[in-house]
């Protein structure tokens, strides 16, 4: 009897655990009304890597080094107030369930932006950005094995242009 209860508890915890990663958050919210979602798979990243020198919008930012090291990209942009709170809670659980560290939090004009990363000093295996701005909520998740230096360079290069 105790074994059966323990098995049921473990199964339920496993199910709950499946709700806490980028893929499950994407699967849960991508079909909701007022939500736009983007998913890029590892296979697509490999295809990107085979493109000849890509120039989009006269960009000087070279993403090729990072592209080859990415496994998955998830983006959820929601304007549905009824699900924004739940989305934020699920992202919170996702962050708390792993070894993510907060990189930066910016609060300005009612907008809250948080960055989280997971990895070591040289390799970043995950980057999460969460934006809460009134009725809008944005969740971005990058999975892979990115060199920290390359990632920081790309972000700073974008900063220079902005």
């Amino acid at each position: 009897m105790k074994k059966l209860i323990a098995l049921a508890v473990v199964l339920l915890m496993t199910v709950q655990g499946f709700a806490q990663d980028g893929k499950s958050i994407y699967n849960k919210y991508s079909g909701e009304e007022g939500v736009s979602a983007v998913y890029i798979s590892k296979a697509m990243f490999k295809m990107m890597g085979k493109l000849p020198s890509v120039e989009i919008n006269d960009s000087d930012v070279n993403l090729s080094k990072v592209v080859s090291s990415l496994d998955a990209f998830y983006l959820i942009e929601s304007e549905n107030r009824s699900i924004n709170d739940k989305l934020a809670q699920d992202v919170r659980k996702f962050i708390d369930s792993g070894d993510y560290e907060i990189l930066m939090e910016v609060k300005d004009d009612g907008e809250t932006v948080r960055f989280y990363t997971i990895g070591d000093e040289q390799i970043v295996t995950g980057l999460v950005m969460m934006i809460l701005d009134g009725n809008e909520c944005t969740f971005l998740c990058l999975d892979g094995k990115m060199q920290r230096d390359d990632l920081e360079k790309i972000i700073s290069e974008g900063v220079g242009r902005n």
Partner: protein
């Protein structure tokens, strides 16, 4: 004195004739002891019935949990489909996202820099 095994092999008629034999000594409080033994046996049977019922319900709960887990696994953790079939479009989306990341990081860095310069001004004023 008969042994327990011999008594168990006796027919009911033989047991009745033994019971009618008043020469056989009856231990004290025999009837109370027999009643207590019968009550204990009845309670044991009831407890076994309850344990069996609990096991059935527990098994049903475990099965229901497994079924729920299987349904959720099937419908919520499947591999999603690429949004773009064109790698150039996907690359453009990736670039847009990194530009968004950069703009937000830039905002944070500028806010931190503004705070730092204000702190330096205060520090200079105090010194």
């Amino acid at each position: 004195m008969k042994k327990l095994e011999e008594i168990e092999r006796l027919l009911p008629s033989a047991l009745e004739s033994l019971a009618e034999n008043s020469d056989i000594p009856v231990p004290e409080n025999m009837s109370e002891r027999v009643k207590a033994a019968l009550v204990t046996a009845a309670l044991d049977r009831e407890e076994r019935r309850r344990v069996s019922s609990r096991r059935i319900w527990g098994g049903a709960a475990a099965f229901a949990a497994t079924a729920c887990a299987a349904v959720l696994l099937i419908f919520h953790t499947g591999e999603p489909k690429d949004t773009y079939s064109d790698p150039e479009m996907a690359y453009a989306e990736l670039e847009r996202s990194f530009a968004l990341i950069s703009s937000k990081v830039d905002k944070g860095v500028r806010m931190a820099s503004a705070t730092e310069s204000a702190f330096e001004t205060l520090n200079n004023a105090l010194n």
